[in-house]
């Protein structure tokens, strides 16, 4: 047997995956993954988001992060996520810098660490990172200067925690705070989905009654049931009596990887139509992290129908991201900042 106590080494090893997210007082320092966060922490983020939801509707701007500089560091294309992060930062009065790395430094051969060092030198307070490789946000959090917070805006297939939080926020607004009585079905390409992984963690932490995943075997990662979900290959039984149906985007390139025969067959078997949705509870809500492929994973009549909350998700995304930003930057803010916040 390997002796656990003898196994410590440099930067990352020995620290649990999620523990680096919290500072010594248990406050949120980074948000890298939902995994390992407490029920209290998740609830507290959602509660804080609730206070910001009002800001969005009427006041539009609060001075919580005045003087802070937030960098949107996107190594992968994104419209909604980057825009809502930017809006959230601006509504908190922070300065925002958008950097699209795929067209700048790394294509000139600069390493990720060099890019970080340069940005650090510009006195930034927060990096919001999206990258195609799983583990990038953790890598960055392990290597940045101690005063910088890192928010994961999507790393490979690993995690997209703010998306999962805004989804929980949407569910809570529509179905109430007691997740124990809810049955949630996630349908589609779970293999490649960081959103689904983060949603599954969040739903489990909030003690959701039942979590189902629905997909053909080619789109399910191995041993996914060990994440605390039940597996269905048939959408009819998968969404039966569900309170929440979450549809995932199907990328066109999945046909090339021999994961599926065609979009048509996928829609026939897994596409959410009005007819199919009848299997869910009559008051079930339909969610989608976007962007939607109409006629591939979801029918327009459902996407635009009365049970769809897809656009609400986008709106709530701003409040949730404001909550996460204020909590992470707030956890190591000056006393001056704290006073301002409490007043």
């Amino acid at each position: 047997m390997v002796n656990k106590a003898t196994r410590k080494t440099d930067n990352m090893i020995g620290k649990d995956l999620w523990n680096i997210q919290l500072d010594n007082n248990g406050n949120l320092k980074h948000l890298l993954t939902i995994e390992g966060l407490s029920t209290e922490m998740l609830t507290s983020i959602l509660d804080t988001a609730e206070t910001f939801a009002g800001v969005n509707e009427s006041v539009k701007k609060v001075p919580l992060l005045r003087g802070k500089t937030i960098v949107n560091l996107f190594f992968e294309a994104s419209t909604r996520t980057r825009t809502t992060f930017e809006l959230a930062a601006k509504r908190l009065s922070a300065d925002v810098l958008n950097i699209n790395i795929s067209t700048s430094a790394t294509s000139k051969g600069e390493s990720l660490l060099d890019t970080l060092r340069n940005l650090e030198a510009m006195q930034c307070d927060m990096f919001i990172v999206r990258h195609e490789s799983s583990g990038t946000a953790h890598f960055i959090a392990n290597h940045v200067a101690p005063h910088i917070s890192v928010l994961n805006a999507g790393d490979g297939r690993h995690a997209h925690p703010t998306q999962a939080l805004l989804d929980m926020f949407t569910i809570r607004r529509n179905k109430g705070a007691d997740f124990g009585k809810l049955r949630v079905a996630i349908v589609g390409d779970l293999l490649h989905s960081r959103v689904a992984r983060s949603q599954i963690h969040a739903l489990n932490i909030l003690n959701t009654g039942e979590i189902r995943v629905v997909a053909p075997k080619t789109l399910l990662p191995k041993d996914i049931e060990q994440m605390g979900v039940s597996v269905y290959h048939d959408i009819q039984s998968g969404i039966k009596d569900a309170d929440v149906v979450i549809m995932l985007r199907l990328q066109k390139e999945r046909m090339q990887g021999a994961l599926l025969p065609s979009e048509q067959e996928y829609f026939q078997l897994y596409g959410l139509t009005e007819e199919r949705l009848k299997a869910a509870k009559p008051d079930a809500i339909v969610m989608h992290p976007g962007p939607i492929n109409r006629g591939v994973e979801i029918d327009s009549t459902v996407a635009d129908g009365p049970q769809s909350v897809i656009l609400n998700q986008v709106t709530y995304g701003i409040a949730v991201r404001m909550a996460v930003m204020s909590m992470t930057l707030g956890s190591h803010s000056t006393s001056d900042d704290k006073q301002r916040k409490s007043s």
Partner: protein, 426 residues
């Protein structure tokens, strides 16, 4: 010429079923005799080995020294020094250098560098196909004459099965062993972690068991057909051990090895995106690790190797999938193996056999033994020394190890090559 006596050590030589406290007499760089007395032997130098293990120098069946081609990572001089400090006296290098070892000139270049460095012995595998491209046969006979001890296509796939089959037939013609790193590139599909709960949770591109096992099955049929002598390198799956066992039972001329890290680490070790544990083949689960250990202790697997892959710091400083796989492993080969002995996982003689006699036999070299007239390559170990590995103190140019901070018992105190003390701890 010089005469050396190593006295009162616990001499363990699996090749001769020897495990007793006795003396070794060395003359002209060769083992002159092993025993309590040797009439008329006048030693010029005596090494007192009371309380120490005296074993044949370790034969590491797979180590990448990065030269020629990747000298910014390490070179023959730096790595052969690291090897002798860890009791390794012979290293076998795969042909995937740059240039590839597919012609005698490259072998000669390597031999010259090794000679100039003056530390561990180095033997090379020649490329099975020209440039490792899987299209044309290499000049196997010429490579053999130049000193290559076997043939391999390393990690490069040979897509055309007919080419593999003919390469095996041609290798068999020249009585050469083929070394196979079993991997189906379509199934491993640029993955970086074992397909299982950890890769699923971390969203890392997975490598299924079948990437290794389907490839082994494929090769076993070709080995059966061509009757070539084959060695499977770096197994990672329980099922692979089973398949090798069956093949041996059926009388096929196959052997296999495992890297020391596969006997200790599992997929759980990557669960914090620890890039030091990014290795190929990937770390599997505990069941696989236990099956590999059993494979060694039940003599299904013949050798434990380092699978040494030194890297510069930057190679591991990136998000996990973007890091380069491999461990700087020369200096943990013996410690990790002794750790299994100390933990009661295998007996000492078996462990030493897997590091000396058996890998030497697979390579067909007259080393890894203390038989009379064998080269006096010897490793003397103080089995009681307790120490902690510090990655920054590795002698190898590569400091990439997941074993930083591990506690070990037993350390090399002296290493001899051809009867000369080439490393001494003090």
């Amino acid at each position: 010429m010089s005469r050396l006596l190593i006295q009162n050590g616990r001499v363990i030589d699996p090749a001769n079923n020897l495990d007793q406290v006795t003396n070794i007499y060395i003359s002209d760089g060769k083992i002159f005799a092993v025993g309590d007395a040797c009439e008329g032997f006048q030693a010029d130098q005596t090494i007192e080995a009371t309380g120490h293990y005296v074993i044949p120098g370790i034969v590491d069946i797979c180590a990448r020294l990065r030269e020629p081609g990747l000298e910014y990572k390490a070179d023959i001089a730096s790595e052969t020094v690291a090897a002798t400090s860890a009791g390794i006296t012979t290293l076998c290098i795969p042909p995937d250098t740059d240039p590839v070892i597919d012609e005698p000139a490259v072998v000669e270049l390597i031999h010259r560098k090794v000679k100039n460095a003056g530390h561990a012995n180095v033997v090379a595998l020649g490329a099975l196909t020209l440039g490792l491209k899987g299209e044309y046969l290499s000049e196997m006979a010429a490579l053999k004459t130049a000193g290559c001890v076997g043939l391999s296509n390393a990690r490069s796939p040979v897509h055309n099965t007919l080419v593999i089959s003919r390469a095996f037939e041609y290798a068999a013609t020249h009585n050469m062993t083929v070394f196979i790193e079993a991997n189906d590139p379509w199934l491993s599909n640029k993955g970086c972690a074992h397909e299982g709960p950890v890769s699923t949770r971390l969203g890392l591109p997975p490598i299924p068991y079948s990437a290794e096992t389907a490839s082994i099955a494929h090769y076993l049929e070709l080995i059966t057909d061509t009757n070539v002598r084959a060695h499977f390198c770096r197994l990672s799956c329980a099922r692979s051990v089973e398949m090798i066992n069956q093949a041996k039972t059926m009388g096929l001329n196959v052997t296999a090895d495992v890297s020391a890290h596969q006997l200790h680490l599992t997929e759980m070790d990557i669960s914090s995106f620890n890039s030091q544990c990014h290795v190929i083949p990937p770390l599997r689960n505990q069941r696989d690790r236990d099956a590999l250990r059993t494979g060694i202790s039940h003599n299904i697997l013949s050798a434990i190797c380092s699978d040494h892959q030194p890297h510069e710091i930057d190679a591991k400083q990136a998000p996990f999938p973007a890091t380069e796989p491999g461990i700087s492993a020369l200096e943990t080969l013996l410690p990790l193996t002794l750790r299994l002995v100390n933990d009661g996982q295998m007996n000492l003689t078996t462990a030493i056999s897997k590091l000396t006699k058996e890998p030497a036999e697979i390579l067909g070299i007259n080393r890894g033994t203390l038989s009379q007239n064998a080269a006096a390559d010897i490793c003397i170990i103080n089995p009681a020394t307790e120490w902690t590995l510090d990655a920054n103190s590795l002698i190898s140019q590569g400091r990439n190890t997941p074993f930083h901070g591990w506690n070990f018992t037993g350390k090399v105190s002296q290493t001899l090559i051809d009867g000369k003390v080439i490393y001494s701890a003090n």
